[in-house]
Each structure stands twice: as C-alpha cells, then as structure tokens.
C-alpha cells in the first residue's frame, strides 16, 4: 500500500509539471503578438509594459522564461506563494486573493458534494431495489427535471422562494464560518442545493445502474444464501461494491467544479474562483485567468490522487496490480 501511494504521488507530481508546461505554452508562447501586451491588461502605459517584461522575464528566451515561471510557482514571488504575480488591471497581488477565493469555492463545492452524495446514494439504492417501481420512475423524472434545469434559473428560483417570498433564509453574500457559524450555514445552504441537485440526479442514476449490476452478481446470491438480512445484503455487500467506481467520478467532478462554479457564485454573489475567472476573462486580466486555470488543473490532479488512494483502500485488488 505504501509503495502504491508513493508511486501515485510521484505520478501526480509529474502530471502537475506537465500542467505547468501546458499552461505556460498556452498563455505565453502560442498566442501571436507580444505576451507583455496581453498580461498588461487594457490600454497599458509603456511603463507598465516594461514592468511586465521585467516581472515575467520576457526578455529571455522561451526555455528560461518557462524555468522562471516554474521557479515563481514553486518558490513564490514578492506577492506571496504560489508566485502568480500581480494583476496589472486591478493592481492587486494574485496569491493572497487566490487563497481567499479558493477557500470560499472549496466550501461551496465540498458542501454541495456531501449533499449530493447524501441525496443521490439513497435514491439510487432504493431505485435499484425496485426497478421500474413508482419510486424508481418518480426519481428518474425528478432527476431529469434537475438535470435539465439551468443552474442560474434554479438559483434564482430558490432565492425568490426562500429569501424574497418566505423570508426563511438570508439572501446573497458570504459570511465566514469563524465570524458566525449560523449565518455561514444560512448563507451557504441555497448555493449548496443549487449546485448539488443537478449532481444528485446524475449520481442517483449512476448508483442505481451500479447497484443493478452488482445485485446480479454471484456473491450477492452467496450473501443471501448465508442467511443475511436483505438490509445487510444491500448496505454491506451490494452498496460497498457499487460505490467504489463512484469515487473516481466524485474526484473529477469536485476538481472541475473548483474552477467551474461560475454561475452559482455569480447568482449568490460569492467571491470565489468562478466569479474571479469570469471577471478576469471579461477584463482581459490574464494573470487571474492563468491563476485559476492552474489551480483547477492542479486540483483535479490532486483529487484524482486522493481517489486512487481511496480506491486502493476500498478495493484490495487494485493494490496488487
């Protein structure tokens, strides 16, 4: 197990290095024209352009530029760690903002992930136990509704109902957990649901499918032949085997969402990464876009490392490969 984790860890580091190279090529090398112009934001002054060239080492050749870029990432720069520089449009350092915003997005995504697993797994299991039953059909239909509903519309409807009409929940914005845990939860609950309902619907279908396959396995017949209760057969034997493939799916979805909750963050006015990358793109603020791109790709790599470790823990056969 230890060797397996070490091997996967080294592999992840290699993947992250490749990610830095690819992002470097996309942001520095491939686009035509002067890279300094692109990083410098809208209508830069000659002084700013000179500053950009100085900061990013654009006077050197491409290889040196990449190594400098890598060095800033690994060891940080004068604005903090990782060294992602400075937004020439807004005049703010990237790294401190990145951490602050990542924290909000991670809370949003992890909370939603817990929620969609809590909703999706039981629905999937019950649907699989009685395929084509009323429950199964109803959950399929409800799921289809949530899969097809645009997230911005769902978010707005929740706001309209629970904030503006019923007044049960506070509106948009973010309150830190350390400031007021109750207000934190009250502000997060609608964003969580907005994000989770779509995924809950998808996960319920995936788990239903996995469960149906597993329930046809010989070892489920063995479990019944041992005299186990149906409940134990389902929760211990069938669900355990059905949940393993979902781990990988979960890691990829969470990783992608860390940079992709643009709409939810915008609707609920949460100052997270999704919101930021949208602003960055609209303002041609290249350092911001680059920072979020890097964070998301690295997050996906690290989460798939976690998924592989969890996989090996849950399925002994993986460890021996």
């Amino acid at each position: 197990m230890g060797r397996y984790i070490l091997r996967r860890l080294l592999w992840t580091i290699a993947v992250v290095l490749v990610v830095t190279l690819v992002t470097f090529v996309i942001f520095y090398v491939l686009p035509s024209g002067d890279p300094a112009l692109r990083f410098a934001g809208k209508e830069p002054t000659p002084q700013v352009l000179a500053q950009v060239r100085q900061d990013l080492g654009l006077n050197h050749n491409v290889v040196i530029q990449y190594l400098l870029y890598l060095k800033r990432l690994v060891f940080g720069d004068r604005y903090g760690w990782p060294g992602l520089g400075f937004s020439y449009s807004t005049g703010a350092a990237i790294a401190p903002q990145l951490w602050q915003r990542a924290l909000i997005t991670i809370q949003l995504v992890l909370g939603a992930a817990v929620l969609w697993m809590l909703i999706g797994i039981p629905i999937g299991v019950i649907s699989a136990m009685r395929p084509r039953s009323v429950f199964d059909r109803a959950s399929l239909l409800t799921g289809l509704v949530f899969i097809s509903t645009p997230v911005f519309w769902l978010g707005l409807m929740l706001l309209w109902l629970f904030w503006s009409t019923l007044g049960w929940l506070p509106g948009t914005g973010y309150v830190a957990f350390t400031t007021d845990p109750v207000q934190w939860a009250a502000h997060m609950i609608m964003p969580w649901f907005t994000l989770a309902l779509l995924f809950a619907a998808i996960y319920a279908r995936v788990i239903r499918g996995n469960m149906l396959d597993t329930l046809g396995e010989d070892y489920i017949r063995t479990a019944r032949a041992k005299g186990l209760s149906e409940r134990r057969v389902i929760t211990h034997h069938a669900l355990r085997a059905s949940i393993v493939p979902v781990i990988t799916l979960l890691a990829i979805d969470v990783g992608t969402l860390i940079g992709g909750t643009v709409i939810t963050e915008t609707v609920f006015n949460l100052q997270g990464l999704g919101n930021w990358v949208l602003e960055g793109a609209l303002n041609q603020d290249l350092p911001v876009t680059l920072a979020v791109t890097l964070v998301v790709t690295i997050a996906v790599s690290i989460l798939s490392l976690f998924a592989d470790i969890a996989y090996a823990y849950l399925d002994p056969r993986v460890r021996f490969k």
Partner: protein, 342 residues
C-alpha cells in the same frame, strides 16, 4: 418414523418471460436421507440448479412461479416466511456454487466472510466468530488458516476459494449441504480433492448432501443415489451403483456413452445428437424423444412418468423394461426405429 431430511414433491418452477412461460422444472420429486449424498445430473437448462435455488427462495419472485413442496425435515421451505427462510439459510442449509471466484465477495477478507455467517445466526462476538472461521478453514484442509483468513479471494487459487465456500457453508454445521456444480470451474485434480472434502465433511457431520452436476462421472465418485434430469423432468432415479450398472433410460445411456475413459477398448465417444427442446412450449410426449435413437410412435404423444421398477430404481421411459438390454445393443433389430432419425 421421522421424515426424511429433504423431500421434494411435485416441484414445478415456471418463469414468465416475454417469449412465454418457461417450464424450467416440471413435476420433480426427490428424497434425501441424513448421511447420504444425492447426485442430481443433467445438462445446462435441465432445471437442476433452479430446483435448489427455489428451495432456498433465491429465485426472482417477480418472474418465477414455484409449485409443489420442498420439505426440510417435514417443514415446507416454499411457504416459509422471509424471516424463517433466512434463519434456515446458512444455519440449517449451506450452499456452495459453481464459480468460487464470483461467489465470494471480492472486497472482503475471507475470514470476515465466513464469520459473517456465524454472526448472522449466533449472537456471539467478533473475536469468537473469527476463531470459528479459522477453525472452519482448518476443517476443509486450508493450510495456514490463521493467515489465510486475512487474505482476499483474489489471493487464492480456484480450489482454495472453493474450500473457503465449503467452510462458509458448513461453519454452522447445517443439516443439509447443497453443492451446485462445485467442481465445474476447477481442474480435474482439484475436483477430486473438493469431492473428497465434501464426502469427508458429510461423514464427520452426518449431513445430507445434494450434489448438482452436469457430469455423471463426478457424481458417481461420491453419491449414494442419483437423479438424472432432462428438460426439467427426472428421467431416471436410483441408487448410484444400480444406475451405473444397469441404466434404464436412453438419455442415461447417452450420458454414460459420452464419458471419456482411459480404457482404450472404446475408440470414440458417442455424443447425444441434437440439443434439448425449448422449455417454452415443450413438445407433447417424452421430452427426450426427438433425440432418442430408440423412440417409437407412443413416445411422441405420451409423457412418461417415473415408474419404480424395484430396488428403488425408477425411470420415465416407455420402452418395455424386459427388452431394454437387447434394445440398447441393437436399436435397429429391435424394430423400434422410427423414420427420419438423425
């Protein structure tokens, strides 16, 4: 007189399918005494496995329709409530299945899988149950049972996995063991070991064993009685020695002629021509008639029932019992050849 350990009376299992009703088992009867092994032999789809899955209520009841009686010690298993049947499974009736790789849960340690059976039926602690599991592994000849208990199924060979299945089925010392093709997925040398273990456990625990197999040769090594099934019906039944020395039904003759032997006197194996009939609308008359070299007109219209011919030996064939020996040697001279035979 106490009732026999297992008695099946007039069992029928029908499956509803989109194409029609499949008569998987049709009017099967069978008796098993304690300390005996009954071999149930037939090819795929003859209804042998379905019979015993039905006994444990392990069929999909959305589709299966089961009629008749399956009495364990005089109590009908088919009418048992879910709770009652659960108490019987694993505790009074142990089951082992064909493919020990897929029949063991791949994600759990084998020791835990065995002790789970113990804990499901006896209110004992985790540690004691684990000790029982190790003991059960020892009983079936598993080397280093303490270490093996911590391994996963994929770390064991096929024969060892089947030993685990036997240990799991017998850990609570049930009265009946149902072995559903326990050696089909294994090598021939391992097959002999597994049969030996089953036979030994039978003697040690004094239990009854149902040995389901597609091979008469497998069954002949250990079984006391044998039931030959064809297309959902028993075609011959009797003490193993009698069925082998004096087989009565043409299907049994065919099975015996298709067993490979080391004996070089017979140069070729004789296969049974054709394949079993569809069980959706089985033909009228004897179900084997279409493949039978000895059929005559009545075979196509009359469905023979099992008839006892003495010494506990019964068969379901319309041939004249007195002339069967001659008929088997000389099917043409017996004048029973119908036209259009294969």
């Amino acid at each position: 007189m106490s009732p026999p350990l297992l008695e099946i009376r007039g069992l029928s299992v029908h499956f509803r399918t989109p194409d029609g009703v499949v008569r998987a088992v049709d009017g099967l009867s069978l008796t098993l005494e304690r300390g005996h092994i009954v071999g149930v032999v037939g090819e795929s789809g003859s209804g042998k496995s379905v019979t015993f899955l039905a006994a444990m209520q392990l069929l999909d009841y959305g589709r299966a329709e089961v009629r008749g009686e399956i009495l364990l010690d005089g109590v009908d298993l088919l009418t048992a409530s879910p709770r009652e049947i659960r108490r019987i499974r694993g505790a009074r009736v142990g089951m082992i299945f064909q493919d020990p790789m897929s029949a063991l849960h791949p994600l759990f340690r084998i020791g835990d899988q065995i002790s789970e059976t113990v804990r499901a039926h006896r209110g004992i602690g985790r540690r004691e149950a684990a000790a029982r599991a190790v003991e059960a592994l020892r009983q079936v000849g598993m080397p280093n049972p303490e270490e093996r208990a911590h391994q996963y199924p994929h770390e064991l060979s096929g024969g060892m996995r089947q030993r685990v299945m036997i240990a799991m089925a017998l850990v609570l010392e049930p009265e009946l063991l149902i072995a559903d093709e326990p050696t089909t997925a294994l090598d021939t040398t391992v097959e002999a070991q597994i049969l030996e273990i089953i036979d030994e456990m039978k003697s040690r625990l004094g239990i009854g064993v149902v040995l389901v197999s597609h091979s008469l040769a497998t069954v002949s090594d250990v079984a006391d009685d044998v039931v030959v099934m064809y297309a959902g019906r028993a075609v011959e039944r009797g003490p193993c020695t009698r069925v082998f020395s004096d087989p009565q039904h043409p299907y049994t003759w065919g099975l015996l002629d298709s067993i490979p032997t080391v004996d070089a006197r017979r140069e070729r194996l004789i296969p049974i021509p054709g394949s079993p009939p569809s069980l959706i609308n089985p033909p009228a008359g004897c179900r084997f008639a279409a493949r039978c070299r000895y059929r005559f007109d009545a075979c196509m219209t009359d469905l023979p029932d099992l008839v006892e011919r003495g010494h506990g030996h019964a068969d379901a064939c319309l041939l004249d019992p007195a002339r069967r020996r001659d008929v088997r040697q000389h099917p043409v001279q017996a004048g029973l050849f119908a036209s259009g035979m294969p």
